[in-house]
């Protein structure tokens, strides 16, 4: 059978399941590292970062130089392909090349200048970079100047319009951009290759990311101890029972909008069909009739959220079994705590979402996201429910401040006291994967999933009320990719907030925990259901004026999101430019000794 005619649909289904599993597990492992690293950085320590792979210098040099040459070649080829037969290049390609080249240039310059500042200038290029940095007031002002140049170029190209001047500007930005990109890439990599010449080997650390890999490898080889009085079978399967549901609940999360292929559903879906991705879809229907929708969701279940609650509930079984099967009183206490805590918060977890379900009118997660894309994000529709759900979700994943099942101050390590090696690591990972899956669910239900403000299914469409400010058509594939990236960023941001909570709040007492669950979250979520129902009823009978006012508010919420994203970016730049507050103070003989040596000499901190 010809491989080109084979039906690859089952392969695609398997691929998206594999993506979900890999995404959950990798992000979970990453979070175990991030958690430690984040806690360390709050105290101005580096944290776990010592794992390193040593590479021969010649190899790294070859990779650097060949990679830069390849990137330059690819850019020049792309420039050749994008250049129209006649007339000036398009606004988009001129912007692309100009901005990319400016970015790479200032970024390389900043790296070189700050490196030379840290270890002293070693060659004329170093001296040039440090001189430039000193003239501007510091390496970070090279970055500021570069960013300002990027903004200026953007406005120059957009404002200059289609006239003769505009054509010249686009021409220059396009051609000079491609050339400058190549120059910056090649010279930057040559500089790096030359400066590492004297070193016998180069360490690959990936900002300390190898550390979780080393930790995982280590736990695999550690001794697995089962206490003599333990139930061997239950003791061994409990980690799996905890691990499995935390991972598979990610299956119902849609990572992006459905991809529409112009191949009839009854035809076999071959490799060639991948090329029939529709370039433009309209906002109304999912996909045009006669085409195939490929949903970026591993499990397209019509029970939707119920699947999440059903499986998340089985996580209790693992913790309780682990506590019972360990033949240890501390474990048993931990298991009991875990079971009663998770059962209590499951109730609040489900009830807080009822309000959202009433508004969205569906329990399918992808339809919820579509509702949010048409109207407003869930955080604006159900802000109260979000706070309640967030608290319940943190409690459900048994993390600080609700980590009483493992409360080490009173019951050693709770239900996994008697676990070691990879089984212990599985409890550990499943906690973090539960963080990932609850963040994914929160991003989908309250933060619009793959929807980004003012990006609809076919275009960037900036409109408030009836006024359209900008409409820029973008192809279907690009919008879906943008959405997937946006969704992943939202998940990571929410995970990050959950981890920060860990480093902020102390642990509750057990009666406080129960009181919060039963006497605060539960009644409040019932109140939320009542309030939501009342508002829905009122809006159903409302006049056309009220309805259009609500629509206007929904549009404004999108504008608020886009505005706060832009403001956040500006604040970030301002923060990065802020000079550190340093004040010399020699208050001890040890400080005087350090001063006499010309400051504290530090070996390079690899991070």
């Amino acid at each position: 059978m010809n491989i080109w005619d084979m039906n690859i649909w089952p392969l695609l289904i398997a691929a998206k399941s594999a993506f979900v599993v890999l995404f959950g597990m990798n992000l979970g492992v990453l979070l175990t590292w991030t958690d430690r690293r984040q806690g360390a950085m709050m105290q101005d320590r580096i944290g776990p970062n010592r794992a390193v792979i040593w590479l021969p210098t010649r190899m790294v040099q070859a990779i650097l130089v060949l990679g830069a040459l390849g990137a330059t070649g690819a850019t020049l080829l792309a420039a050749q392909a994008l250049r129209p037969e006649e007339g000036a290049p398009s606004t988009l390609s001129a912007l692309l090349f100009g901005e990319l080249a400016l970015f790479l240039s200032w970024f390389t310059m900043v790296l070189i200048a700050s490196g030379a500042h840290a270890r002293g200038a070693r060659n004329s290029f170093d001296r040039f970079a440090t001189g430039l940095a000193a003239a501007l007031g510091g390496a970070r002002f090279i970055a500021l100047a570069g960013m300002l140049a990027q903004v200026a170029l953007f406005f120059l190209i957009v404002v200059s319009g289609g006239g003769e001047f505009g054509e010249t500007v686009r021409e220059v930005s396009f051609g000079a951009g491609a050339a400058l990109f190549g120059l910056a890439a090649v010279s930057g990599s040559l500089y790096a290759a030359v400066s590492m010449h004297a070193e016998p080997r180069v360490g690959l650390r990936l900002a300390g990311l190898l550390h979780p890999a080393a930790d995982g490898l280590k736990t695999l080889f550690k001794e697995d101890i089962i206490p003599p009085g333990a139930d061997r079978l239950l003791h061994s399967i409990a980690p799996f029972i905890t691990f499995f549901p935390a991972l598979v609940v990610l299956g119902i999360v849609p990572f992006g909008d459905a991809l529409c292929f112009d191949t009839a559903r009854d035809q076999p879906f071959t490799v060639k069909s991948l090329g029939t991705l529709i370039s433009q879809v309209d906002s109304a229907a999912l996909c045009p009739t006669g085409s195939t929708a490929f949903k970026l969701q591993a499990l397209d279940l019509n029970v939707g959220l119920l699947y999440f609650f059903a499986l998340a509930g089985t996580g209790i079984v693992g913790a309780a079994l682990a506590g019972w099967a360990s033949d240890n009183k501390f474990s048993l206490l931990g298991g009991l705590r875990a079971a009663s805590q998770m059962v209590s918060y499951e109730v609040a977890l489900g009830l807080t979402l009822v309000g959202a379900l009433m508004v969205y009118g569906t329990i399918r997660v992808d339809e919820m996201i579509q509702w949010q894309a048409r109207n407003a994000w869930g955080i604006f529709v159900q802000p109260f429910a979000f706070v309640l759900f967030f608290a319940a979700a943190v409690a459900e994943s048994k993390r600080i401040p609700f980590d009483l099942p493992e409360g080490e101050s009173e019951i050693v390590a709770g239900y996994f006291t008697e676990y070691s090696g990879m089984k212990f690591a599985m409890f550990f990972f499943s906690e973090y994967i539960a963080v990932v899956s609850s963040s994914a669910l929160m991003a989908a239900i309250f933060f619009g999933g793959w929807h980004l403000p003012f990006v609809d299914r076919s275009a960037i469409h900036v409109a408030v009320g009836d006024t359209v400010y900008l409409h820029y058509a973008v192809s279907h594939g690009a919008i879906v990719v943008l959405g997937v990236l946006g969704f992943i960023i939202k998940i990571i941001a929410l995970c990050w907030v959950q981890l920060s909570i860990r480093w902020t709040l102390p642990r509750f007492r057990y009666d406080q925990l129960m009181r919060l669950g039963w006497r605060k979250l539960l009644p409040l979520s019932l109140l939320n259901v009542l309030g939501t129902g009342l508002v829905i009823l009122l809006l159903q009978g409302a006049s056309e004026t009220v309805a259009s006012a609500v629509r206007y508010l929904a549009n404004l919420s999108m504008a608020l999101l886009a505005g706060s994203a832009a403001l956040g970016f500006l604040l970030f730049i301002k923060f990065m430019m802020k000079a550190p507050n340093k004040k010399q103070l020699l208050s001890s003989t040890s400080a005087e000794y350090a001063q006499a040596r010309g400051g504290t000499h530090s070996r390079r901190m690899e991070a």
């Binding site: 984040q38 950085m41 709050m42 105290q43 101005d44 320590r45 580096i46 700050s114 500042h117 840290a118 390496a139 970070r140 706070v387 907030v497 920060s500 909570i501 480093w503 902020t504 709040l505 923060f575 990065m576 550190p580 507050n581 340093k582 004040k583 010399q584 103070l585 020699l586 001890s588 003989t589 040890s590 400080a591 000794y593 350090a594 001063q595 040596r597 400051g599 504290t600 000499h601 530090s602 070996r603 390079r604 901190m605 991070a607």
Partner: protein, 215 residues
């Protein structure tokens, strides 16, 4: 009524303001957001300063915005001036040890970790008859309790603990036995092998006491 500085019970002190149980405190959420702001602020500031190489010098610069942390072992804090580190044997101007093998230090040592075997200068040496020299000088740094009595006891300023080096861990017990050559090679805080106190040899004009020629 004017508040008495002693308070109603006659106790001197400033009354502490109790935290208000306002709605924002009791509802947790604004307070949690404030707390998150503080931890995230530390995180971002420290990360930015570490990435941009703007960290304060942990020894010579005051704690400003963030936390001033010594990132041991990449950065180290020099020990204070009077820190008792591992021992060193000081030298005279001509490079010979100042030690005269009087056994004061080994006698004073409560841990009995100093072993000295005295040697006699050969016949005809100008120091013969005045003093002896340590043929062997051994300190067991593992037994040593770093009390500094040996330094106190030494009449010649020959043994000092001003190296500023803390005792280092080794693989085996033998490596902790510091012999004369190693002790003589240990530098002081100024990276020298002499001391501030000048030594006045017999026969020199500065020698304060009596000797063979002046008595």
């Amino acid at each position: 009524m004017k508040a008495s500085p002693l308070g109603p019970r006659g106790v001197v002190g400033t009354p502490l303001k109790r935290p208000d149980r306002t709605i924002s405190v009791q509802s947790y959420v604004p307070e949690i957001v404030k707390g998150l702001g503080i931890t995230m602020g530390h995180f971002f500031t420290n990360t930015k300063e570490m990435v941009l190489g703007q960290r304060n010098d942990p020894n010579t610069e005051a704690i400003a915005d963030g936390i001033n942390t010594v990132s041991y072992p990449e950065q180290q804090r020099p020990y204070p001036e009077r820190f008792r580190g591992v021992h060193r044997l000081t030298e005279r101007e001509d490079g010979s040890p100042r030690c005269v093998a009087c056994l004061c230090c080994s006698t004073a040592c409560p841990a009995q970790c100093i072993h000295i075997e005295a040697g006699e200068y050969p016949e005809g040496d100008k120091r013969r008859g005045y003093e002896r020299f340590p043929d062997k000088f051994v300190i067991d740094e593992l037994r040593c309790i770093f009390c500094g009595y040996c330094v106190e006891a030494c009449p010649c300023d020959a043994i000092r603990m001003d190296t500023g080096i803390h005792p280092v861990p080794y693989d085996s017990r033998e490596q902790f036995i510091y012999a004369k050559d190693l002790l003589l090679k240990m530098p002081g805080r100024k990276n020298d092998h002499v001391t501030e106190n000048p030594r006045h040899e017999p026969g020199e004009a500065t020698h304060p006491g009596i000797d063979r020629d002046r008595h």
